[in-house]
Symmetry: C2
Amino acid sequence: MIEATELRPEHNILFRKLRSIAPLSEDERECLASLPLSSKSFPADQDIVREGDRPSECCLVVEGFVCRYKLTPAGKRQIFSFHLPGDLPDLQSLYLKVMDHSLTTLSPSKLAFIPHDSLRQLIHRCPRVGDVLWRDTLIDAAVFREWMMGIGRRSAETRIAHVLCEILIRMRAVGLANEHACELPVTQAELGDALGLSTVHVNRSLQELRGKGLITLKGNRLTVQDWDELKVEGEFDPTYLHLTGGRNGQPEPVIRWMGT
Amino acid sequence: MIEATELRPEHNILFRKLRSIAPLSEDERECLASLPLSSKSFPADQDIVREGDRPSECCLVVEGFVCRYKLTPAGKRQIFSFHLPGDLPDLQSLYLKVMDHSLTTLSPSKLAFIPHDSLRQLIHRCPRVGDVLWRDTLIDAAVFREWMMGIGRRSAETRIAHVLCEILIRMRAVGLANEHACELPVTQAELGDALGLSTVHVNRSLQELRGKGLITLKGNRLTVQDWDELKVEGEFDPTYLHLTGGRNGQPEPVIRWMGT
DNA sequence: CGATACGTTGACGGAAATCAACCCCGGTGG
DNA sequence: CCACCGGGGTTGATTTCCGTCAACGTATCG
């Protein structure tokens, strides 16, 4: 936990995230620490970048939740992913000039921006860190696949259970959740947009899960009451998250510097 | 077309593919040409790598169609992507040790294998090519997002129209299709597994598209009769394919060295 | 020529969408 | 202080798109 006292919160959360998906040496930590990050606060439901934009910087989630989405011509929204502190939700913009989707906050958030140039220099100076960043975008893709699986082939209840498992595990990986519970500032409508379901049906399916005693979900807080059963219900196998790196499989110690 | 005569078919198709997503210099072409590729033929419906495997090489599609998929505990299949000649469908295995899904042939195919070590050396010797490969995996992810959009928010007919648009465009990008038609060795059941639909419903939706005079689809061959209308029906916008590189937007000249 | 895989058709059922209220609660301003 | 307001959550009635089941057609191939 030495690093927690040495790094600024922005660098600390990024370091925790990357360490959760790959081992990082002291050198690589130094590389990361030298990244210029400029933080900014955003209210909920504010677009950060939009489809068609050509961003010249990437954003790091420091506090709060953000998501990526796109709208159909008819105005229906599909959310592609949720992003929590430590995530680099538009890292892809480093190599895909034009955004093919949008990025927005789900809750009031603190974001740190990193110029593309700085990232390119980092990757050049520190190829190992570059590898980890590439790996991160590949895990991103693995999550997309898993969500596709859910939307295409799983029932509403299973889909919801699955995404709740995923979020809890990812929150734990960066030390933002204890064994059973974490923040979840996501409305039922947003869950529906993510899972290809209507709000009404999300509501009913959540009641099923609650009725079975698997979870409580109230006031932006998720508590898992029966992890084993929730995993079964959600057909959840965390392999696709590729959380093999980090502290030799040790869970990240919980931090509590988030506003809540 | 000088390069077509200089490169072996395996290298040629890879070069065409990469050039379709980014400009490539003469140097970079040389780098690619030096990649050791060992080709092998596969019958249809044969797994190449399976969920849980730890491959030590990547595969390049030289001829034929392959797909990535995963099964639910109940045995339902979700296909995540179709891959055509020039694609590197498991490039991700370079940084994600354990396969979280499987790769299989859809038609009799010729595949070329590239040891991970060779790829790593290539990336090290030729960082620009490394960038293009990273970009390729990012485009892969963009396609996943677009499919999620379809499965989550679009009607069966729209989904099918969309995927047909995508395949034709991608085939054109590597010179395997003319303006209106290409091979499509994919059964209706496989289309269903890709789009989250039942075979029966795929069949009915295809008849709708045929009825409207948008396409013919017969004996592994897709012909688009009304491209503009098909695009509208499929809500198709090719931005997400990021085909901005290549021959200054020129379509790739059609080649015909495929078995058909 | 039968076997087999793929495509087609019809009948039926069900999961989830849609539509429309209504409730609950925190915030705000008169 | 309380009335009002609005976002999110909940509920019931109804509809629809799509899945499932089952049969049959059709083409290819050994």
